[in-house]
């Protein structure tokens, strides 16, 4: 991730700190560790070999990142606050990320992790913040897919992951182009581990908890 991308997210310096100390297990690890005990048959072929447990974990990890991206672009599109170029990017990329979510959810079925809640803290409502955050997210997704590819046991899952990985790379190039940053400056993209990705996402504070809206308490309404 370039310094520009980090600066977009790292208003309090938390990301730089996170990159320097990647020891804590992030929320994604917790999410991905749930509900992965069983083997799953591949969705498009009833006679196919079941998915290995480790592949299910990787798929759930990918789903968690797709949830994040889909929610980000969807909220940006709904905000109707972006410039024409940013809004177009949000509309097109958001539609693709929602399709990715649907595909992963469909394959994982009951083993799919639940969609977390997000608080994007206003970055979906300002064109500059939106584009810079989008660059960071897309770079993150590209690095994440690359980091997990070698761990996949199923060739069929790997083929899917590579198909999505290249789409994420196109998104990354598009968002970089919008910021005026060279879309393909380097000859080699470094992968990132799950711990690294988790730490960066966690440091953004974009993953939030559900507000508590119910209680076991006697009403004091006017009656």
């Amino acid at each position: 991730m370039s310094e520009l991308d980090l600066a977009a997210l790292d208003r309090d310096g938390a990301l730089e700190e996170a990159r320097d100390g990647l020891s804590r297990a992030g929320f994604l690890g917790t999410l991905a560790a749930t509900g992965t005990g069983a083997l799953l048959a591949l969705a498009d072929d009833a006679g196919a070999a079941p998915l290995r447990r480790s592949d299910v974990e990787v798929l759930n990890y990918a789903l968690s990142l797709e949830y994040l991206q889909a929610a980000f672009y969807t909220e940006a599109e709904r905000s109707k606050a972006l410039s024409k170029r940013a809004a177009e990017a949000a509309r097109v990329v958001g539609a693709v990320e929602r399709a990715h979510v649907k595909a992963f959810s469909s394959l994982l079925g009951r083993k799919a992790i639940a969609r977390p809640r997000f608080d994007f803290q206003g970055v979906t409502e300002d064109s500059g913040d939106f584009i810079k955050t989008a660059v960071a997210f897309e770079d993150l997704a590209v690095a994440a897919y690359k980091g997990q590819a070698a761990k996949l046991k199923s060739g069929a899952v790997l083929a899917s992951a590579i198909g999505i990985h290249t789409v994420e790379a196109r998104h990354a190039a598009w968002m970089r182009y919008l910021t005026g940053v060279q879309p393909a400056a380097s000859a080699f993209d470094e992968p990132q581990t799950r711990a690294e990705i988790n730490q960066v996402v966690k440091a953004t504070g974009f993953v939030s908890s559900a507000p508590r809206t119910s209680a076991r308490r006697s009403p004091r309404y006017t009656g």
């Binding site: 709904r78 083929a159 508590r212 209680a215 309404y221």
Partner: protein
């Protein structure tokens, strides 16, 4: 030494040219098949069926609210210098999250984002501004509850579709149910107050007459232990439903639902 080296190089060059000539002659001959190479395995069939990109389409009847994350003054304009209309806390009197209906947005001169929200204060219908950073993530609602005071009827809509309707009791003439646009702020249940029925929803509407009522005189939507007097003007301002109706409504209506009382 140089002579032997020159002879060796000449012999090697001749051999290379000879082999190349034979090879080229062979390729040029249509009767000679190309050399066999091992076939690469086909690409595996992808495990995921990726559907086409999914556009949002036309979204009607969608409203937004956000929980207050830190105590904040609500101001009359999107500026930290503007007059304070109310000081908002992160919890309702029932100690649940404080949801604020979001109806607008504006950036101030320094680029700081502000949200225009409906305030749970008197006079009902007051709008104010809070910094975007004071609230959490947006929650979306497709439902809307319409309470018709003249018809003594509550109707829940999902988009444009009616999904629930029931007769209601409303405030008596001296304690009228306020009209306006509000929000369902919380949901209470498993309490020991039979006069409120099995479920009670709190709203952001406030009684303009019972201002000294405990917890601020907020109007609720709840069940009753007197179904025999419904519908009609029977309450202190709350909206009362028969218990079977409030239980049915509780299955359908999420917290954050806008409430229109007309």
């Amino acid at each position: 030494m140089n002579r032997w080296r020159a002879i060796g190089a000449g012999v090697l060059a001749g051999a290379v040219i000879g082999v190349a000539a034979v090879a080229l002659a062979g390729y040029g001959d249509p009767a000679t098949p190309p050399p066999k190479r091992p076939e690469l395995p086909p690409a595996p069939r992808p495990a995921l069926v990726i559907p086409p990109p999914e556009g949002l389409g036309r979204e009607t009847g969608l409203t937004r609210w956000a929980p207050l994350r830190r105590p904040t003054p609500a101001r009359a304009a999107p500026s930290s210098a503007a007059r304070v209309l109310a000081r908002l806390s992160t919890r309702t009197p029932e100690r649940t999250a404080h949801p604020l209906p979001v109806v607008g947005r504006r950036a101030d001169g320094s680029g700081r984002l502000w949200l225009r929200v409906r305030l749970p204060i008197l006079p009902n219908g007051t709008l104010g501004w809070v910094p975007r950073r004071a609230v959490g993530g947006y929650e979306l609602v497709r439902h809307r509850l319409v309470v018709d005071l003249g018809e003594y009827e509550a109707t829940l809509l999902l988009g444009d579709r009616e999904v629930f309707s029931a007769p209601v009791g409303i405030g008596q003439a001296r304690w009228p149910t306020p009209r306006g646009e509000f929000i369902v702020r919380n949901r209470l249940e498993r309490y020991q107050s039979p006069q409120y029925g099995p479920v009670a929803f709190g709203t952001s509407a406030r009684s303009a007459t019972l201002t000294d009522w405990p917890a601020g005189g907020f109007v609720g939507i709840h069940g009753t232990d007197r179904p025999d007097i419904l519908p009609g003007e029977v309450s202190h301002g709350c909206i009362r439903l028969r218990n079977a109706d409030i239980l049915r409504l509780a299955e359908l209506m999420p917290v954050g639902t806008p409430v229109v009382i007309r």
